[in-house]
Symmetry: C2
Subunit: 362 residues, 2 copies
Amino acid sequence: MTAGEQDRESLVEARIEKRRRAVPRFTDERVTMAHGAGGKASRKLVEGVFVPAFMNPALSTLGDAAVLDIGGALVAVTTDAFVVTPIRFPGGSIGELAVNGTVNDLAVSGARPLAVTASFILEEGVPADVVRAEAEAMAAAATAAGVVIVAGDTKVVERGKADQMYITTTGVGVLDERSRVSSSSVRPDDRVIVSGTIGDHGVAIMLARGGLDIEADVRSDTAPLWPAVDAVLAACGPSVRWMRDATRGGVATVLNELALAAEVSVMLDEHAVPIQPAVGAACELLGIDPLYVANEGRFVAIVAADAVEAALSAMRAVEVSAGAAVVGEVGADPPGRVLGRTAFGGHRMIDMLVGDPLPRIC
Amino acid sequence: MTAGEQDRESLVEARIEKRRRAVPRFTDERVTMAHGAGGKASRKLVEGVFVPAFMNPALSTLGDAAVLDIGGALVAVTTDAFVVTPIRFPGGSIGELAVNGTVNDLAVSGARPLAVTASFILEEGVPADVVRAEAEAMAAAATAAGVVIVAGDTKVVERGKADQMYITTTGVGVLDERSRVSSSSVRPDDRVIVSGTIGDHGVAIMLARGGLDIEADVRSDTAPLWPAVDAVLAACGPSVRWMRDATRGGVATVLNELALAAEVSVMLDEHAVPIQPAVGAACELLGIDPLYVANEGRFVAIVAADAVEAALSAMRAVEVSAGAAVVGEVGADPPGRVLGRTAFGGHRMIDMLVGDPLPRIC
């Protein structure tokens, strides 16, 4: 190692150390919509309020699912609240989302989903048929995902104290023995795969809300991801380093979370990211970057360079990830940063989502 | 068996068969507050809408927790949404309730609580200190209950679309090998124990809402029940037939659920039910029956007659159930019914809760 290399290494280490020592503080006086958007503000709320209060080894990884050793079985657990509006939209509904969102958090944690619990907060006056339709949507989604809905609860609040219904689901799964996914497994030169076109869900919701003068047939991508995860684990096992479903905050936010957690950089080939023309056009008209738009049936996988072709073939053979593409690679420097490589060879910094361009997207 | 006895037996069987065949139907057009009250209307919603949609063996027991066999480990799972108003009240707060309510559903199912997930729906504009206080209340309750909070989620909805905050918790536990609790284990001549004074939580909430001209120092009984369950299982093992925490709908509702599920009758000695004088007086002024008022740290246990003294001593030795008392016994007839024996030797029918006298109590 030359003196210059040593200097550079010390610099990088100092930077990592600083980031590690930084005590996240939550200084906002009130909760705003941005705290629910999944980006920087959400992270501050979680790291500044909930993590210090709940501190324990299982929670502190901030992964999508916690893993508990129960009598020798490695049980994965995850929870999500769903407050999407409108509750029905092209390609899905809140009930379907509530099942898929939660089983997907298990899947990308390398856990086979087994069961889901469902808790409903209903607004007084919501039509019984609306509740019935969502119960049926959840049942169908559970069947499609191969899970059972094993426990539930229902509360009712006065008219105007909710918005038709909110659903919280919790998923229980079993850690798959082929999986070694962890941000600490990620290494420079690993490749970045996205499992299909991005932004479909968020744009479908925006269009369903109406009021925009855009005519486009965009459907939510909501779908269970376990078949794709199962296929890539079967093909590549421990060469699958890390996975995350790109929900709130989109692909840009999950890559930033990875870069921070693994203390690596990520270089994204922006022109390689699959985007449906209608979604791209809608984003351009709305002035939003599709990299930050929520997906509900897409995930990002980090795979060892020598396994990337096997991973791609395995994923493309499964319907939900038929559109999988390699979109970038992991680097060493600058740690904690995501950079975009434009079609013309330039670079731009891709930061975490700030604010909330698309509230109540899931 | 005499001819008269045979006739009577056929009659009982016919009645049970009718009840069994009755397909629960949900014919209401809209959801009302009563559907969230834990009584008859809640049961109709659950049995008429959710159970038919989600039908599976784990769900169909309608117990407080589902049990999953994961790699040989018997994992108990339960979920509950909390929408109590006000969120802080004498003796507790929504955060503490959200932990205790869920670990108690595990405990009375004979499962040792291990972990809890927490999902927050926050109203835009809620002060950060209010969120912080509930995170701390949950952490303290988790420590007291011996569980870890392992996963969470936060969503934010617009001002006026929630009421400060709603919390859904899901509990994961492991079935205790000493436990054989099940409604099918309940037999005529078994005894009914309540673990302490009833109605404290519901009355504390009513008084905290103000507007009533009642001065009384009543505190919620919210507390983790596992220490009491652990003690009674250690003392009596399989002689503990069935347990249920008496939350929404109160002791009357859980006894009705038991009577229906086990196809037995329950005779309650009303004068033996422990009630704090202030709670009794408040209920009288409010015109509500304390048997229907929610508790958050009390449970009903059905115990074999020959184990009842051992059960009582074991429970009384634990702080949370120091006030345990025998309040009645199980009978054969009329199946599915709860009867109250008054101090003067009379009887009255104690039905399930109808309507919602105390909305958003938990």
